[in-house]
Symmetry: C2
Subunit: 265 residues, 2 copies
DNA sequence: CGTCAGTTTGACCTAGTTCAAGGCCAGTGG
DNA sequence: CCACTGGCCTTGAACTAGGTCAAACTGACG
């Protein structure tokens, strides 16, 4: 328990950076993964005036009870949302890759009901709510796209609930690895069918996401390796037997509601 | 495991009923609980042409992989969403009271990623997607209200994840009872400060929502009674010590994002 | 070459599960 | 009016998945 040497000053460690970087296309790519976007709309998205900043790992961006006036897009790295519990435990609620908008909800829910911060070093692009609202007025279809994104997010929450509520540690971990692989493919962080994907999480992060103890995460990873399903190190996931992993985790990517269902070999 | 004598024919046991019943005001009441609605908008909501039907308990309305062409509102009774797992277990993902729109997501997510059915006998009001879309074109602010509802739902999922991932059975149950009380108050099923509220769930339902075994749910309920926090029977929840219950469950209603924070004595 | 974050392993322990058997009560049919 | 049934609740006893505690190991970095 009680890890978290998370930096306590939200914006500490952040460096402002010139806007309109290529990584900015992340948002358009993400929305295209779940929604049909016109060329015109893509251009509009790509010229959104983000305020870009870089963050160190494990840095909080927003806290429970905050009332943010802006939303942000992950342009690089991995962020997460989490809650801190009475008993000192931390539950990671979601992880966010390039193109995700982790705090979109602040657009309609005034006060934060959870915390939100980086897991790895990350680059984030910020947009004031006022800008977003004006943008959605001009592009109503993109409002639908974002609403759909909120719904997909809900779907992912539900699948995680299933894992936490009913799956064994082994299945939960297998499922989590499958999701990590597929989502990084969808975010074009690795190419489809790549079996060697970056591993952005520490074992402690995974423990907090999966509702397991750190020790048991370690043992579960070993079990996965022993059975030849996957080899997980600090830096990468190497899938040894995709079919076996998918079966072990009872993984069906339907809940991600991706438009393109890549044929995962 | 392996309970569920859920009726297998979705519409079996359903009786069509004349529309425009008073219970139809449930939707407006619900939306007002989370959003600021004008008089004009309320009138519009209340004259929505629902197709009303009654259902027996434990009846499925929609199934995983279905592609619904309509959404429904709970007008009376309690519904839930759930997933069935490989190993025969069932995870209840959410419960829905009067005024809730449990399958709103079908408006933007073509295929169901979970099942949805009644828990108690229930009356539901149906509206085709086409009608809803036209309605939202005429009342764009209500689109925001529904989007907000989707976000509140996400917030509730997150809180449930915290329970499943980090809380003891005792705390989980206490939290669940607090939520059940507050939500039934918000839905005006009981008046604020009422400490004796209807209990719409069997112990088996609760086990499936909380990720516990039926036996342990039973024991947890007994523990709650022994400590004087709450007495739970098939028909009602009688809160003995609201403050104690809230503390035991680490319950903070902020995640429900209700506009009116009733002073829960 | 010391430090620190993260990983690994062993030994022991407990919260919650599983199995099994009754008990209660409302509804049904004789 | 009574016996019977089926759904739900209750309790005990034995078991196990996963947690906790404690210590050591590894590798990156200054």
């Amino acid at each position: 328990m009680a890890e978290s040497k998370r930096s306590s000053r939200p914006l500490t460690g952040a460096r402002a950076v010139t806007s309109n970087h290529t990584s900015q296309h992340a948002l358009a790519r993400k929305l295209e993964a779940i929604f049909d976007i016109t060329v015109h709309e893509r251009i509009a998205i790509n010229s959104l005036p983000f305020h870009v900043r870089d963050y160190a790992p494990n840095t909080d961006i927003a806290r429970e009870r905050d009332r943010p006036s802006q939303c942000c897009v992950v342009l690089r790295g991995v962020a997460c949302r989490y809650k801190l519990i009475d008993n000192g435990r931390r539950q990671i609620l979601s992880v966010h890759y390039e193109g995700d908008i982790p705090d979109l909800q602040s657009l309609h829910l005034e006060v934060m009901d959870h915390n939100f911060g980086t897991l790895t070093a990350a680059r984030l692009g910020f947009l004031p709510h006022t800008t977003i609202r004006a943008f959605l007025r001009d592009h109503p279809r993109l409002g639908e796209a974002l609403w759909r994104d909120t719904m997909v997010e809900g779907s992912i929450f539900r699948e995680w609930m299933v894992g936490l509520g009913t799956r064994s540690a082994f299945a939960r971990m297998a499922h989590f690895l499958c999701e990590t692989v597929v989502r990084q493919r969808a975010a074009a962080i690795v190419d489809a069918n790549g079996k060697n994907v970056p591993m952005p999480f520490t074992q402690s992060d995974m423990a907090q996401a999966l509702g397991l103890s750190l020790v048991h995460v370690n043992r579960t990873i070993r079990a996965l390796r022993t059975r030849g399903l996957a080899t997980v190190t600090r830096s990468s996931i190497v899938v040894g037997d995709w079919d076996g992993l998918r079966t072990a985790g009872d993984f069906d990517p339907a809940y991600l509601h991706l438009r393109i269902h890549e044929a995962v070999d």
